[in-house]
């Protein structure tokens, strides 16, 4: 399809009013515009979620603080968690996927452009619905405003008796609505990658980013749907007087935990797999070597995808399960570390002997490698049930999953920002500012999350709004909070760099990194139709073949 050449008009589109341009963005079905909308909207929520985290850290900087009330503190950790997972991490990764997948597989758009727009707006309205709870959550009872049930909203906290008003309803509906959007995105990713590849791009010749997003799409449709189902049940309980999670009528609170975590654990991999994809694109280009062990990389990710559906109850060791349940989930958790370890060795193998160039994207990717390794190691510690009985629900757990989500996911997302910024905007970012961003954020990250492990081991539980002095937690909490300000400063530098470079940056050209995948073969930013003629590829690195006709890749693949 669509392989004929399109006649182009070179006439400038002419000056349009701001209203017309905004209208164009609102009604767009173009994957590049929707990708950028996803990213901008996620960045907006990143700042909000970051402010909520900062409020919590100021409250905990020293014992017996009164910066916020306990009620507000509960709302802050609920909103911080929900926002960061559902309205920052997912949309930002969907945004990059939506933007990059068609470009990398040589297609002109996603398989279902209108479904793409629908998914974005469902996601966006889900976020607005969640934040509307700050004003609309009072309800008839006048109690509460934003949801305060924690991001996993265990029953019976969510029952009408304990969550009067509408705040929990806003939480459930926001996740229901955005979940439908996410399922749409999952369907779209899979279909685009399966059915829209350019001639010659067999599954074995796809860029790893496409492969990993295909697996991520499969995980989205299988993991987000249970959450959607569970939210429907919660709404039935709250609105129609159902008893799914009502222990007084024989319902089970533990069933909600199972339903939530059968979504919740694959969700972590839904977030980390696209991050792996960014690392797998960035590391080869800045090591000047093709990726090491491409088939193993794909196989390992497929393994992770499968096994991730059988580890969920390691979040529930402290609930009290049978011995066989504990054993099963401990063993599966250990097993999933194996393919993850394989991937780390593959990235190291890619860098080994390469001509490594430490530009900003590479710095973030390398930091990701080491931080993700540590996050994986604490994950294995928590995955063994006896250890988890000791440290479950402590700050050690908080430190562990922030190491994954910030140290793993956010670092690669920043790397991806710098790597593809020239493609999206047509201009280069400022390298010096990017390095400032990296080092500030790197130092802040380690101050906060390295030292957060220690109060956890000393017994500090998560979600407490204050604590007694003299338990040995004070100094660590102080250091953790100081780190937050370094991270905030790093993010400010980042935002400034993006805005400044968008207007004043050097013109990037179509291929500033001398890279090898198809998105760099078209102009920056790409035209609406992406490619003038649909490319035909012979190998995993089509641009290498183009630049080195005397020694093309397809001779060796």
């Amino acid at each position: 399809m669509a392989s004929e050449t399109i006649a182009l008009s070179d006439a400038a589109p002419g000056a349009r009013s701001i209203g017309e341009r905004l209208h164009e963005w609102v009604v767009t079905v173009d994957h590049k515009k929707l990708g950028i909308l996803y990213i901008l909207y996620a960045l907006f929520f990143l700042v909000i979620g970051g402010i909520e985290a900062t409020i919590m850290r100021i409250q905990l900087i020293a014992p017996h603080q009164h910066f916020v009330s306990p009620q507000v503190f509960n709302r802050m950790f609920t909103m911080h968690g929900t926002t960061m997972i559902f309205f920052v991490a997912m949309p930002i990764l969907f945004g990059f996927g939506t933007y990059l997948i068609p470009l990398m597989i040589g297609a002109r758009d996603m398989a279902f452009p209108r479904l793409n727009a629908f998914s974005f707006w469902m996601n966006a309205f889900g976020g607005l619905l969640l934040y509307f709870s700050f004003i609309g959550g009072n309800g008839l009872f006048g109690a509460g405003n934003a949801p305060d049930v924690g991001w996993f909203a265990y029953a019976p906290l969510t029952a009408r008796a304990f969550s009067p008003g509408h705040s929990t309803d806003f939480w459930a509906l926001a996740l229901l609505v955005s979940g439908i959007g996410s399922i749409g995105t999952g369907v779209n990713f899979i279909t685009t990658i399966v059915s829209m590849r350019c001639p010659g791009m067999t599954l074995g010749k796809m860029p790893l980013l496409a492969w990993l997003n295909l697996i991520m799409g499969g995980m989205v449709i299988l993991a987000v749907s249970p959450l959607t189902a569970a939210q429907i049940m919660l709404c039935i309980d709250r609105y129609l007087g159902g008893h799914f999670f009502d222990t007084q009528a024989g319902g089970s609170a533990v069933l909600w935990m199972h339903f939530f975590w059968i979504f919740g654990h694959p969700e972590v991999y839904i977030l980390i797999v696209p991050s792996f994809a960014f690392a797998s694109e960035i590391i080869p280009v800045f090591s000047r070597k093709p990726i090491f062990g491409y088939p193993v990389m794909v196989a390992a990710t497929l393994c992770i995808g499968f096994i991730s559906f059988s580890v969920w109850a390691h979040h529930m060791f402290t609930v009290g399960m049978s011995a066989s349940g504990n054993t099963f989930f401990t063993v599966t958790t250990m097993i999933i570390a194996v393919p993850t370890g394989i991937k780390i060795f593959n990235w190291l193998g890619t860098m080994w002997g390469g001509k490594i160039e430490f530009r900003a994207p590479m710095l973030f990717a390398v930091a990701f490698l080491f931080q993700f390794l540590i996050a994986g190691l604490t994950g294995i510690m928590l995955g063994s049930s006896p250890f988890d009985w000791q440290l479950g629900n402590s700050y050690f757990v908080v430190a562990h999953f922030h190491y994954v989500i910030v140290g793993g996911i956010l670092f690669t997302v920043f790397g991806a920002f710098y790597y593809w910024f020239p493609k999206m905007s047509g201009r280069m970012y400022n390298e010096a500012l990017a390095k400032w961003h990296f080092w500030l954020f790197f130092i802040g990250f380690h101050l906060t999350f390295d030292f957060m492990h220690i109060p956890g081991m000393l017994g500090m539980p998560r979600r407490i709004y204050t604590y007694e002095p003299g338990r040995g937690w004070d100094i660590w909490n102080l250091i953790v909070t100081i780190g937050v300000f370094f991270q905030g400063a790093g993010v400010l530098v980042f935002v400034f760099n993006m805005l400044w470079s968008m207007m004043k940056g050097k013109i990037a050209g179509s291929d500033p990194w001398d890279a090898w995948t198809l998105e760099w073969s078209t102009t920056s930013p790409p035209p609406d139709y992406n490619f003038e003629t649909i490319p035909v590829v012979q190998s995993r690195r089509p641009l290498w073949d183009l630049k080195h006709p005397e020694d093309p890749d397809w001779k060796y693949e």
Partner: protein, 198 residues
């Protein structure tokens, strides 16, 4: 891009990829299966856990007739799509209308069943765990039947205006996948609710 750089000495096989519609529909079906799995698991988990009556064995009547209707509609939709592909528009209209009728009978049957249980047996969604799980599982399925019926009715209206042509048979074929899926789900719901759950 120059042609020369890409040209490879071997002859490539013709490039064809799976149809977008089918891949998309199968993905959607996978997602829907996950949703139904959670509801079925909840139903099975709560069998016999209700603290108060009425219990399933007191109120449930096996809906044989509407089950036969719904399952046969899978056959009629298949025949309708085949007729359209062979450009037999009259046969298509007949089979499509039959599908619509059979689906509607199923929905009406479910509605009457619910009405009987609510007004005669006093079982509502908030009565006990059985009521909660029964109405939500059967209701979720009925919702999917309703969505499918709306699409079938819309196509029927287009058909009456003569807008449906043989070239649309692939789209209707893809839609029929959804309808078959709804039927398969009913087989599972039927087994769980009326066979195992009693």
């Amino acid at each position: 891009m120059s042609e020369a750089a890409y040209s490879r000495p071997s002859i490539e096989p013709e490039w064809s990829l799976p149809s977008r519609g089918r891949v998309g529909m199968f993905s959607l079906i996978a997602a829907e299966s996950a949703v139904f799995t959670i509801f079925v698991v909840a139903y099975i988990f709560y069998i016999g856990k209700s603290l108060a009556g009425p219990m399933p064995k007191d109120v449930l009547e096996t809906p044989i007739f509407i089950t036969i209707c719904l399952l046969s509609s899978s056959l009629t939709i298949h025949l309708a799509v085949r007729a359209l592909r062979n450009a037999q528009l009259g046969a298509f209209r007949l089979w499509w209308f039959l599908t619509l009728t059979l689906g509607a009978i199923f929905l009406i049957g479910t509605g009457r069943e619910w009405q009987r249980m609510i007004s005669e047996k006093g079982l509502t969604i908030s009565t006990n765990l059985f009521g909660t799980t029964y109405y939500s599982l059967v209701g979720l399925h009925a919702f999917h039947v309703t969505a499918g019926l709306l699409a079938i009715a819309l196509t029927m209206i287009f058909t009456l205006f003569g807008k449906v042509k043989p070239e649309h048979s692939e789209r209707l074929d893809i839609f029929s996948l959804y309808w078959h899926f709804v039927d398969v789900v009913w087989v599972i719901v039927f087994t769980v609710v009326y066979v195992i759950g009693r």
